[in-house]
């Protein structure tokens, strides 16, 4: 199918519905994996999923599950349950939600399908290591830890060798659990599809460069699901190609995502899942569009390190040098480049109690943005899933004050 013929169909496609359908089918497949003789692996959101796809193992993402728990406002209940189990209320709310959910099979989809193996890549945080240890003890299944040293300042040859060797160990691990060999031709194909999917996802996000922007960060939070869960499949490629074309069409027709876009903002850190609608309305009321964010762009941020013809060979670098696994100063540089690329008038930073590696350093990034670009910033104190750490009145007041500043600074320039 060429882009042209697709274009004709696109106008009638509802991408939100299609996404929901794909995700529903995906979860049904995952839940019935056992009946179809398929294995299920739980994997962290930043982990190398491509070898799983190539081995026909169904990847399941506890963090995506965490996000669903948050979005369906079940976070507080499940977090409380974890606290009763002895987990401190200061721990990541994805982890708390998922850990307690596993014991009760509750949550928005009645629990995740049980894992046959666990794959934990610590390129996002040290929390996942502890979280997967908990689940490995609970489910008594093999755990593979994919250890990606933090790149504070340099990606050293030692790191590269270490991570590359783990890629080999990882594939051996999968072969062991499945009792069959990796099909390397298929792996090559999956690597290419993953690369293509990430490129398309970047192109989707890039449509927000248009003024007005055809999509907001809130949309991106929603459309993100496939690049996380089905990266490396044809399905994700097809979906994002269609979505990109649709967004491009909207952009060319001057259709904005919000009724009147006058201000453009950048979002930092994870979404506040249980208040997406409310927040998007709040900002839209002030004619402010959140055009981009550091979170969803993390799933295409290391494209420059990927060799699409040697995916596995370049994976050490592309999986190690992702947004959260680099120094705060490098993160600040990415934020600055996003401000320039998307023409942001201000930045909204979610100081997320749950996620220390994402949040510590934000104050420094804020200062750098202020110094280098002179645009206003807003720090929102909250949590991605635990609503107990969200004060609506306070946040509303702060958004108002912030928008006042944005208006003043835009007016003055």
């Amino acid at each position: 199918m060429t882009d042209n013929t697709q274009n004709n169909e696109i106008k009638t496609i509802n991408y939100e519905k299609q996404m929901r359908d794909i995700m529903t089918t995906y979860y049904i497949d995952a839940k019935t994996a056992g009946q179809n003789n398929k294995k299920v692996a739980w994997i962290t959101s930043g982990g190398p999923v491509e070898p799983l796809i190539a081995m026909d193992i169904i990847p399941v993402y506890p963090e995506n599950h965490g996000a669903m728990i948050g979005a369906s406002k079940m976070g507080v209940d499940l977090c409380k349950k974890a606290e009763e189990m002895g987990y401190s209320s200061d721990l990541c709310s994805y982890a708390r939600g998922d850990i307690s959910c596993a014991t009760v099979n509750g949550g928005p989809i009645g629990g995740l399908p049980e894992p046959d193996m666990l794959v934990c890549c610590n390129n996002i945080c040290g929390t996942v290591l502890k979280w997967y240890e908990v689940q490995a003890r609970y489910f008594k299944v093999p755990l593979f830890i994919f250890d990606t040293p933090i790149v504070h300042t340099e990606f050293t040859p030692e790191m590269k060798t270490y991570v590359q060797r783990q890629m080999e160990e990882y594939i051996l691990f999968l072969e062991g659990v499945c009792g069959r060999k990796m099909d390397w031709d298929r792996m090559k194909e999956v690597g290419k599809l993953s690369f293509e999917g990430q490129q398309l996802w970047q192109e989707v996000l890039d449509t927000a460069i248009s003024r007005p922007s055809p999509l907001t960060a809130f949309d991106a939070f929603f459309y993100l699901a496939l690049i996380v869960t089905l990266r490396g499949t044809q399905q994700a490629v097809d979906y994002y190609r269609g979505l990109r074309d649709e967004m491009r069409r909207r952009a060319s027709e001057g259709k904005g995502a919000i009724p009147r876009e006058r201000y453009r903002l950048l979002w930092d850190n994870l979404p506040i899942w249980y208040r997406l609608k409310w927040l998007s309305k709040e900002f839209a009321q002030h004619d402010a569009c959140l055009v981009a964010d550091t979170y969803t762009s993390a799933w295409c941020g290391s494209l420059k390190y990927i060799n699409e013809n040697d995916f596995i060979g370049s994976a050490a670098e592309s999986y190690t040098r992702i947004y959260l696994n680099i120094g705060v100063d490098q993160m600040a540089e990415i934020v600055l480049s996003m401000i320039d690329k998307y023409g942001a008038d201000g930045i909204v930073m979610h100081s997320n109690r749950s996620c220390k590696p994402y949040s510590f350093g934000q104050y420094d990034i804020q200062k750098i943005v202020q110094r280098e670009r002179g645009i206003p910033s807003l720090m929102l104190e909250a949590d991605m899933c635990d609503e107990r750490n969200f004060s609506e009145a306070q946040i509303q007041t702060r958004i108002e004050a912030f928008m006042e500043m944005i208006r003043a600074s835009k007016g003055a320039s």
Partner: protein, 373 residues
């Protein structure tokens, strides 16, 4: 006893001590944050390793770099840097451990003008061949990086000598622990606390001599001592920044016979093999020592270790001291509790911070726990 006062003085003002040492010995002072730091490499470079523990002073500057939900260790160390109180440091090294320390390294590098900055990006998992090789690679790189910063060649001989010194220090502290395990009444817990801390602050050569003397003195005292009627307690957790906690437990009738702190037994457990490649020996110890919860060696090594110690030391219960906002330890607590419950070992958790809960709350809880034993 002879040296106790000196240990105490050093621990109460490490910066004063370090400045003096710098002046009198001419040694460069290298700060570090965690017990996975290969002190021996720093010593072999002719420099002095100094562990930072946070601060007793009020925090005012660190708050503009770290949110309220950061542990007091990281916040305290940053405060020491920002305030310039440790501006005598010639350099700072940050081994990779938890997420908070990871960001502390960045924030320090970006904001603190004095001294050089080095990361030691250790493996997080410790139980595979590739991790072991990587560990050695990282140590080699650290030796090169540090040598370059200090403009010295770090020789194998110097490393061997440093290993001999730290081995001696670790042996002496173990000897002290062993005697106190039998007769906890012979030395109050806060003296023990000072000894372990002082060993991460003081000049190591001098310390090796002092500690040997302290151990010998304690041994003399132990001759003829009778086991005391105390409830034998073991402490667990990350570390303890509150010497008062020891006294509280002792006042309530507890004898602290052992611990699983990185500023305690985890620091001196495991000697380094001599007579082989020194970096390989150092790496081996780091890989094999009791695992810190920020690293992975196996799934229940820590529970087995703690239960093993409780049995070996004949402790009646465990008090788990948890730093507020400390993720790695907070994640371990529920499973440790479960395992200890199964083994019939009473466990109490106390959240500690740089300030203790007001109104003697903690004291009351210790009393209640000890009474139950």
């Amino acid at each position: 006893m002879n040296h106790l006062e000196e240990y105490r003085r050093v621990v109460s003002d490490p910066s004063d001590y370090a400045r003096q040492l710098q002046k009198t010995s001419g040694k460069k002072i290298i700060g570090y944050t965690c017990s996975y730091t290969p002190e021996e490499v720093i010593m072999a470079a002719g420099a002095h390793p100094l562990r930072l523990f946070g601060t007793k002073q009020n925090i005012s500057l660190a708050d503009s770099h770290l949110q309220s939900y950061c542990c007091s260790i990281v916040r305290g160390i940053l405060e020491e840097g920002l305030s310039g109180r440790v501006d005598y440091l010639d350099g700072m090294v940050f081994p990779h451990t938890c997420d908070s320390m990871q960001r502390l390294s960045d924030i320090w590098r970006m904001n603190i003008p004095f001294g050089f900055h080095l990361d030691i990006t250790l493996p997080v998992k410790l139980d595979t061949v590739s991790a072991k090789d990587y560990m050695i690679d990282v140590l080699k790189k650290f030796r090169d990086d540090l040598g370059r910063k200090l403009n010295v060649e770090i020789s194998d001989e110097a490393l061997q000598k440093a290993i001999t010194t730290t081995n001696a220090i670790r042996q002496s502290i173990r000897a002290i622990y062993d005697i106190r395990n039998l007769y906890p009444q012979l030395m109050p817990g806060d003296d023990l606390y000072n000894i372990v801390r002082a060993s991460m602050i003081m000049d190591r050569d001098r310390l090796a001599v002092m500690l040997a003397e302290t151990a010998a003195e304690l041994k003399e005292r132990a001759a003829g001592a009778k086991p005391a009627d105390m409830k034998r307690i073991m402490l667990a957790g990350g570390m303890c920044n509150q010497p008062d906690v020891y006294a509280m437990i002792e006042d309530a009738g507890g004898g602290i016979v052992w611990d699983d702190f990185c500023t305690g037994a985890r620091y001196f457990t495991g000697l380094i093999d001599t007579g082989r490649d020194p970096l390989a020996g150092i790496g081996e110890r780091l890989l094999n020592r009791v695992v810190c919860p920020a690293k992975h060696a196996d799934l229940d090594g820590r529970a087995r270790h703690i239960i093993g110690l409780v049995k070996e030391k004949n402790a009646r219960g465990v008090i788990f001291l948890l730093f507020k906002f400390c993720d790695p330890h907070a994640f371990d607590y529920p499973y440790l509790k479960e395992r200890l419950d199964e083994a019939g070992i009473p466990l109490m958790i106390a959240e500690v911070d740089d300030s203790l809960p007001a109104g003697g709350q903690l004291r009351t809880r210790f009393e209640a726990f000890l009474e139950m034993l």
